[in-house]
Every structure is written in structure tokens, then in C-alpha cells.
Symmetry: C2
Subunit: 620 residues, 2 copies
């Protein structure tokens, strides 16, 4: 088959690509993370690239829709619509890349003593002879048990199927991987002993390749969740899966493929073989968990919203379709409830808010902010958890100029009189607001008394204008954007954020009341997740989303779920701890909490602060 | 899709058949066992049928080769080459049917107390509510464990995947099947609790459907092993699998399909669903075992001929591709050696020659005669086993007029002077000799002193003639067959049988010597298997194949392997006993036995009897 050489600039990746693959396929294959939200259908227009040299396929209708003829003449194309017909050199603009500083693979790096569930042993076997006619399996088990004082009794069926030729071609010496009393992998001696931890997020999928012998993270990578073409939020994906079993299968396959892609990419980085991965751990919210495993999701969509499975599940890699050692197990951490999944358990595990040994002093609140926000309150030996439907506002959804945390997004903002100062991701010209920018904007508008407690926008500032019968506050004007549409905060944007912050605040309030605690008694607030890591806590306090506590009581911990997955991967003790945490949780269905509506309405009020002489003051 | 109604006469089966299926496919689907040895390629000409009414596809070249134009005009066709194009009525002549009395599904029916590895429980669950938010899996396990005092901890992944909708559609009442601490099946309450036992023979596959609750056999059926199109003997199938992994896969698929076909047919007979089968047991020789599981067979073909696996294996039905409850296990009894498989273990189990409790008195020999003959000698607490390459003579192979035990085969024969008396299967006109007929013929020729101790045919009888430079003895002449070729025993036929009987006799002799026992000390000889059940033991003694002992010491037990499989299916104690038997066996590789060649040459001599005044006399 014909293959072309493709150069991706400025990332500097180059490699062979089969004829018939699109530039997007090539990019993915070479580890160049180009954004694509529409499953390569040419509709999201996110994968813009510029062909610098070489021949490619004709332009398609959707490309002629996006680009001017001048742009097309200049080589601009959609990567998903363009097929190389010769060696090609391509430039990928920053806005088409998934921004690396936002992939959320970093997080706490906690060191635990490795106690992996699998162990590898070197085994040297005597060859069979007329005086030693033991079967290959018996020979392996007996030699393994004898040389290493084990009590292994079974061999995975896929290992069995390869056993005879492998032992012979490796001259009766091999590396045997054992889990409990089962041989799950056979490799040449010596091979590495690797594990894969996956945080399967609704938006991003983060993967960590770890050495099971010393617990080190060897490589980490984040990619977009390809299910995003079925909708950015969980509910639309669940709806797809309920409507049609085939779509459910497709969603499952997309999730599995994304994990397989991560496994391949991570292995390539450290020059490892995928069959050296002998254990995997996956965490995700309950819906992602169910879609991945192929569990039904209909019961997640209707009250009382119960998961099909809550306890931890071990599935053979082959039963999931993961391309690691087929006899390896994939361990899925336990779920707590329909809307509180294994990712929250992993987060609690990684942040150590519920210490395994003994009982911590004081009250801790752990929050994972997203479209759905999980909040746990840890009080001595008790964990109480709620789930709040905070909506997509923090991810830029339902906000007029909202966008994901990507190149050109306003992430910080200050209003001082008529002067508006902002900072964008990578310092690029502003194109919209990401979650932390929206939060700052509302907080600043509120402090400046441009919006009132109820969230109503006044008409007391030169930047306020009315468009389509709605008031809006201009952050970046048309002039500043060379004639492109202004970036503004509208009245509906404020309402959207009010709903989001009210949901979270209600959750915290319900937890405090259930535990008969007050806000002041919270000793620590741990904030995890993609959005939570980048917000300005001060702004969140200002609008009353987070409790009004000294800033040193807040801890922003990055992708704690991924780190929890890694801990559970390398340590059986941590895995048991996760199960203990999950079964210890007292889950409260928010809607059934006493006074829920009353609390919610109170929580939607913006806050109790004003700027007085340039300082934020509590007005009570 | 169009479907036609097909009537099969005279068996009286009628049913719907999809357009595009051959008459052979239809017959199989309706449980009409038409012989086919060539995988429906039109080359074996075994599936002759007569179309009585209705329209079918045009004749093919291979049909025009077999049938005269007159026969074609009369409706004669090959079932594998003929496709209905309307409703059709078909007559299946007896010679095209696998003869029911030879399917070898009958055998010992031993009654054991049912102690199946799976148990079914009725469970009534509380429905979830806002005050009981347990996940479906947790709810099921907790209710099951509580209502039945169990300690179940895991649920099979396929059960998990169906759990949520099934519990809801069954209104929170179900039948749960448990194996050890795992839920392997979920059915509506009440469902049957069925098990499938399979004897996967080289030629025939026998299936038994049993009730796991009371141990009763509900239905039994035998079909041809479809692998037969890859050669009738094991070695040619192994060779195919070694030469090409694809052929190996095909052989595996054929074996699996034959089991699935049996499962479907057996269920249809008792109006059961295949998903009510919650456990299966399969026995077969080591090669059939390996081909079924997808294990490599190369090491079986080369000295020292070791199996990939000897200990018992439990495989999920889905990992094998069996169409029973996907979470059910298939238990494969242990193998003993490369040429002594689980079928021999099953036979030892069923015949009770190695009693579980205590140690039997006296010496017992257990023989399973086939292309490969396994012989075990049980002496007190010891079992010694050999495998003898007895060749295909007993199945009619390599014998000029040899044939399988089917319609028209001579199965008994006597020579009294010039008078030859014989009996054929179903009393049909003779068409050849099956194994027992060949054995009788050689014994009678020997007793009549027509052949000498060394097996040389004399020229002292009117039925002896020379054809193609070979002497032959005419059993049924051309005249008696209305001009069709005579049925004869040739000098090479005698040599072939001599080799076969020498192999078996050598095996017995080596076992006696290894145990320092003499022939006279054998208290019982158990003969199992298709051929062994029908032979005249007296003839076998005459030619020196079996030891010269009083006839009341011989026991012909039919398909003991199938019965052993059934015992292991319904009883965990019997399953453990099988493992104990297998690991107790001292296997002797015949070629490595001292004096092997000497013993073999001695054993090829025909015997020490002559007819004296009409009676068999030992001449020493």
C-alpha cells in the first residue's frame, strides 16, 4: 500500500501515512492533537490546517463554506476533509491544537509504596522429554510455583492459547505475570511490567503509563473524548444510547478506541509494547463508566437515577476490547450513585481527604466542578456526597461568547472603572471567554455594582449597551477586534452563571445542614478538575459560589481523578481504600433534601460583598 | 425473507426453511441427520435424496456425475447441491441417514446424586426509590445473599450488561444462577436449570441435555463431526491446523458449530431455551480438546507429544463461542497425555473402574477402541495407561470393502465350509464390511485355517481367488450382488487388521508387564466406544486382540465417555474424581517401553486357536 510522508509544523512531528487516510487521521497517528468535535464530518470546523507543500484531495463543500477562495488558494483546509496524494507539509495553527496546558494530565503526584495487583516472575522451565511428559501448562504452573513459592492454579485462556509455541520459541524461559492465583500474561524475559491508568472524562480522556514495579509515571497524555461528536454533555450521549442500541455500541467503541489510542501513544513514547501492560484502571463518571462497559444507561436518566453497577468491577481486557495483554484485567473503581462516579472516588482517594488510617480532625469539603459538580463533605469518619446539575456554563456552554479553555480564551479579567484588563490563554488576541474568565467577569461586574444581588444588569457604565432588546456589557469592542463581533457579557449569560453557582452552593449548604455544621467550621476546601484548577477562588467567593473562608483554606489540585486512578493502579491498598471510601459514602439526592427549593433560591443571590475604597468588603 | 415448507420422508419431519438454504441445511435445521463427509462440496456423494414434489435448483456437475439421467429424471439429487425454490417434499433413503442405532448416545446410565456446580435461586427485589438508591447490582447481590444465605460477590459481565432492563421488565423478580461466588446467569422466574454434556469424538459428536436439579437426561443426540471434511483421522486435522492458522480457526469453528447445533436441537426437543443452559462439560481426545479450545497442536505432532494443557479448564461460554448463557462456564475434563484425552478420563469415570472410595480388588483393564486406542490397567490404587496407534481398520478405513457402521454394512459373519452367513445393519442388501464384520471375517478365516498364524492367506477354499496379483476371499460374489463388484477380504486387509490388533495387544501386554501381572489375573475387561460396543468379543479373543479370558469377564459399555461427561456435568464430586483419576495416571509412552518391538512382533501373530470338531480350541 502506498504511504506518504507527512510533516506537521510547528510541532515538528513527521511520519508515514497510508494512502486513504485523512490529514486528521495522520495527525492522530503521529500524536499531533488536532481538535475535532464532529467525528470528522466536516461540520465543527475546528480542525483548520494550512497545506504548505504537496498535493492533496479536492476541496469539499464544507471547506468552501468555511474558507474564502483566497484562504483556499493560500492552502487553508479542514484536516478531516483533506487526503494527501503525495508527501505533504502541513502547518497546524495553535487554535486547531488541543492546548497542551489544559489537557489536565498533571495533578498531584503522590508517592505510595507500590503494591500492584500483578507480579512478574522470571521462570526457567525444563524442556519436555520422554521421561518428563507433563503438559506445557502443568510444567509452567509447577515450575512457577516451585521457583517462586506461589500457589498459582489457573492460566488465562489467551495465555494458554499461546503458551506452547511461545515457550518453545523463547527456549523455555519467560516472564510470567500473576494476579491472585491466575497467570494473566506471558512475555519474553525480561519485559517491562506496565500499568495503564485512565481518567475517562466527558470532555477529555487522560492516560498515565506507570511502571508497576516502582510506581513511577513514565508518560502522561490527554486527548479529546471522541464521544464529543454525540454532544458535549452527558445527557445527550445517554439519550443517544437509550434511543438506539447501535448508537450505544458506537459510544462504547469510541471510548474504547480513545483508551487504545492513549495506550498506543503512551507506549510509543517510552518504546514499550502494549502487551507489556498487564493491568489497567479506569475511572469516569457513572455515565462514562456505563457507556464504556456496555451497561444500560436508561435507568440513569430516570428518577431515582440508580447505576446498574456501583461496586468495583474487574473485566478482562479482551472483554472490553482493550489492546493491552488480552488476559490482563481492567479494574473500574466503584461508583457512588447515578451522578457520582468512580472519578469522584478517585479524587477523594488522591486528595487524601479521607485518610485510611484513623479519622481526620475537622470538616473538609471536596469539589469536582464540571457540567455536573460532585461535592463531598468529610466530617470525621463520615462522608456525605451530593451531585449538583451545574450545567455547561463553566465550560463555556450556553454563554454567548463562551468557549473552551483554548488558545485566545479570556481566562482572567478585571474591571477598574472604564478600564477593562484581561489575560488570554497563550496571550493570543481574544476570541471568547472560558469558564474562569466568565466567573471573573461576573464577579467584577458585581463588585463594581454593575449588576445587583439578584443578577440584574444596571445601566450605569459606558460599556453597557442594548442589543436585540438585551442589555450587555462590552468586554472587547468591535473596534478592538478589527471589525469582528464584540465580546460581551449579556443578561442571559449572568442568569446562566447564577443557576450554575446556585446549584453548587445549594449542594454545599445541604451537606452542611445534613452534618449540622456551619460554613465557618470547614477547615479545607479541595477543588479538583479541569475548571476548578484554573478559577480565581476569590471571584468564586465573591459571587457566593464558594463559602466565604480565608483563601489559605482552599486547595486547587488539578486532575486528582487521574491521579487517584494511578494510585489504584499501583497499589492494592489504595484500591481497597477506594472501595472503603465508596461504601462509606452517604449519598443525598439533592432534590429530596428538606428545604431544597428554598435553599436554592437563596443560593442564587449573588453575594454579600461590594467594593469599598477599592477593597472587597462583606456587607452581610 | 422467503421461506419454504420442507417435508422430509419417511422420518416425518416438516418445517420452514429460508430461501438460499440447501436441502442439507434444511435437514440439519430440522434435525434430520443426513450424512455428509465433504463439508457440502458435492464430492462425497453421501447425501443422496429424492425430490418427490416441488421445485428445486438446477442439477450441478457433481450430481450429473453421480446420477444417471434416468435417476435425475426420477428426482434423485444430492441434498448439499439442491436449493428449494418452492415448498418441497423430499424422501431420504436409509443409506443417506446417519443410522440412529449407531450414533452412540446411549451408554451406561449411572445415577449419582446431583451436586451441580451451579445453583438457581428465586430472588424478589425491592424496587429502587429515593430512599433506597442502591445500584441494581448491589441490590441484586445483597438481596440474593440475604434471602438465600449466600456470599456471592461478583456478577458476570454479560449478566451485568443485561441486568438493569431485565430486572425492570421482570418486575424485580428473577432466577439467579450462581457458581461459586459468581452470578453467571439471570433468567425470568421460573426457568429451567439445564446442563449440556458433549462427547466431541473424531467422527461423531454426542450431546446430552440434562436437568441440573434432578440429574435426569432430558434428551440425547449424535451428529457427525463436521471436521470430517478435513480428514477422517486426527493426524490429518492436526496437520491442517499446523500448516495454517486459518485452517486451525476453521476447525475450531466447525467443532463449536457442531456443539451449538446440538444445543439448539436438544433444546428444541424439550422446548427449552438455550439460555437456560447454565453449565457445559466437554470431553474429547487431546487433539479434539485442543482444536476446540483454540490451543496450538504442533507439539502434539512431535515427540515427546505433550499436550498444551492437561489439567481441567473452565472457560466462559462466550470465550468459546458457545450459544448457551454467555456467562456460563464450559468445563473441560483433564487430559492425561498427547494421545490420551479427557474422553478416556470420562470413560474411566463412567465405568467406575477406579472407585472413588477405597481401592478395588483385582486387576481391571479398560479399553476404548478407535483409530487410536487407549488402554488403562487399574491395579489396586494404581492406574497405568498407554495409547496404541490402532489405525482406521476398525472404522472400515484402509480395508478394500470397509465402511462405517451404516445401513447395509456386514456386522456379523460366519464361515462354515463353503457356506458364508452374514448379518447386515438393518438387514439391508450388503454393501461392505464395518469394523465388527471385518473382525469376524478375519477370525472366521483363521479358525477355518484359510489364513495361517502369520496372516498369510492359503489357497484351500473355493471362495479364494486372485485379483491384481493379490489373493482375496469372496464373501459376497458379483452374482449375489446382481453384477456389482464382489465384497471380499484381501491379503492387504488381513495385514491391516493384524497391525491394528497387534497395537492393542502390545498395549495390554506392556501394561501387564509394567504392573508385573499376568493375563490370567485380569478380573474384568471393560470395552467402551463406538466400535468396542459392537464387536464379537469371541472373535477378538480368537485373533489374539483381547486376552484369552472367560467371556463373563468382558463388559461392553457403549459410549462411556459421553456418560462420564454427563456425570461430571451434574456432580461436582464426580468432577473432582475425574481430576483425581487424571492426576493418578501413570502414562507410559509405548515406544519407550522396554522390549516394545519384540512384544509388537509377537502380538501381530494371529492367535493360538483352531476349530476342532466345530469348536474353538486353544492349541498353545
Amino acid at each position: 500500500m502506498t504511504a506518504y510522508t507527512i510533516d506537521f509544523e510547528p510541532v515538528g512531528r513527521r511520519g508515514q501515512c497510508q494512502d486513504g487516510k485523512s490529514l486528521l487521521d495522520c495527525a492522530r497517528q503521529l500524536g499531533v492533537d488536532i481538535v475535532s468535535l464532529c467525528a470528522a464530518r466536516g461540520t465543527c470546523h475546528a480542525c483548520k490546517v494550512k497545506v504548505l507543500a504537496g498535493a492533496v484531495s479536492e476541496t469539499t463543500a464544507s471547506e468552501r463554506e468555511v474558507f474564502s477562495s483566497q484562504e483556499l488558494a493560500g492552502g487553508w483546509r479542514l484536516a478531516c476533509q483533506t487526503y494527501p496524494t503525495s508527501d505533504v507539509r502541513v502547518s497546524v495553527p495553535a487554535e486547531s491544537m488541543t492546548t497542551p496546558q489544559r489537557t489536565q494530565v498533571e495533578g498531584l503526584e503522590i508517592t505510595v509504596r507500590p503494591e500492584p495487583p500483578v507480579h512478574a516472575y522470571q521462570v526457567k522451565l525444563p524442556a519436555p522429554s520422554l521421561s518428563d511428559l507433563r503438559s506445557d501448562s502443568e510444567r509452567l504452573l509447577e515450575t512457577l510455583n516451585q521457583q517462586h513459592q506461589l500457589h498459582c492454579s489457573t492460566i488465562d485462556i489467551d495465555v494458554l492459547r499461546q503458551l506452547s509455541p511461545q515457550l518453545r520459541s523463547w527456549k523455555w524461559q519467560c516472564q510470567v505475570t500473576v494476579r491472585d492465583d491466575e497467570v494473566v500474561a506471558l512475555n519474553p524475559w525480561p519485559s517491562r511490567q506496565l500499568g495503564l491508568a485512565i481518567d475517562l472524562g466527558t470532555t477529555k480522556v487522560a492516560g498515565y503509563l506507570a511502571s508497576l514495579s516502582d510506581g513511577q509515571t513514565l508518560a502522561a497524555q490527554g486527548i479529546m473524548n471522541p464521544q464529543i461528536s454525540y454532544g458535549e454533555d452527558i445527557i445527550s450521549r445517554i439519550t443517544h444510547a437509550i434511543d438506539s442500541p447501535i448508537e450505544g455500541k458506537r459510544l462504547q467503541r469510541l471510548a474504547i478506541e480513545s483508551i487504545n489510542q492513549l495506550a498506543t501513544d503512551l507506549c510509543a513514547r517510552v518504546d514499550a509494547r502494549a502487551d507489556e501492560i498487564t493491568e489497567a484502571v479506569v475511572v469516569g463518571n457513572t455515565a462514562m463508566h456505563h457507556l464504556l462497559v456496555g451497561l444500560p444507561v436508561a435507568q440513569l436518566a430516570h428518577s431515582p437515577f440508580v447505576p446498574a453497577v456501583s461496586q468495583a468491577v474487574d473485566i478482562k481486557a479482551r472483554d472490553l476490547g482493550l489492546h493491552i495483554t488480552p488476559g490482563a484485567y481492567t479494574h473500574l473503581l466503584p461508583n457512588i450513585a447515578g451522578f457520582v462516579g468512580a472519578d469522584h472516588v478517585a479524587m477523594l482517594l488522591a486528595t487524601g481527604v479521607w485518610p485510611a488510617e484513623g479519622v481526620a480532625e475537622g470538616v473538609v469539603v471536596a469539589i469536582d466542578i464540571g457540567t455536573n459538580t460532585e461535592v463531598s463533605l468529610i466530617d470525621g469518619g463520615k462522608i456525605t456526597t451530593v451531585s449538583c446539575a451545574s450545567g455547561p456554563a463553566f465550560e463555556g456552554g450556553h454563554i454567548k461568547d463562551g468557549m473552551r479553555a483554548a488558545h485566545g480564551a479570556i481566562e482572567r479579567l478585571q474591571i477598574a472603572g472604564a478600564d477593562i484588563q484581561y489575560q488570554t490563554i497563550e496571550g493570543a488576541p481574544p476570541v471568547g471567554l472560558c469558564g474562569s474568565g466568565i466567573l471573573d467577569a461576573i464577579a467584577q461586574l458585581y463588585l463594581a455594582e454593575i449588576i445587583d444581588d439578584g443578577g440584574r444588569m444596571k445601566d450605569n457604565h459606558p460599556h453597557i449597551r442594548t442589543r436585540k432588546k438585551q442589555r450587555e456589557f462590552v468586554l472587547v469592542s468591535e473596534e478592538e477586534r478589527d471589525g469582528q463581533p464584540a465580546i460581551t457579557i449579556t443578561q442571559p449569560d449572568i442568569r446562566e452563571l447564577q443557576l450554575a453557582k446556585a446549584a453548587i452552593r445549594t449542594g454545599i449548604q445541604v451537606l452542611l445542614e445534613a452534618n449540622q455544621r456551619t460554613e465557618e467550621e470547614i477547615e479545607q476546601v479541595v477543588i479538583a478538575g479541569a475548571f476548578g484548577s484554573y478559577i480565581d477562588v476569590d471571584s468564586a467567593i465573591t459571587i457566593g459560589m464558594l463559602p466565604s473562608l480565608p483563601l489559605d483554606r482552599f486547595r486547587q489540585v488539578g486532575n486528582a481523578a487521574g491521579m487517584g486512578a494511578k494510585l489504584a493502579l499501583i497499589s492494592c491498598r489504595k484500591r481497597a481504600e477506594a472501595q472503603a471510601v465508596a461504601s462509606r459514602v452517604n449519598y443525598i439526592e439533592l432534590a429530596s433534601a428538606p428545604d431544597f427549593m428554598h435553599t436554592f433560591i437563596q443560593a442564587s443571590s449573588l453575594g454579600r460583598y461590594r467594593m469599598v475604597h477599592g477593597k472587597r468588603k462583606e456587607i452581610s
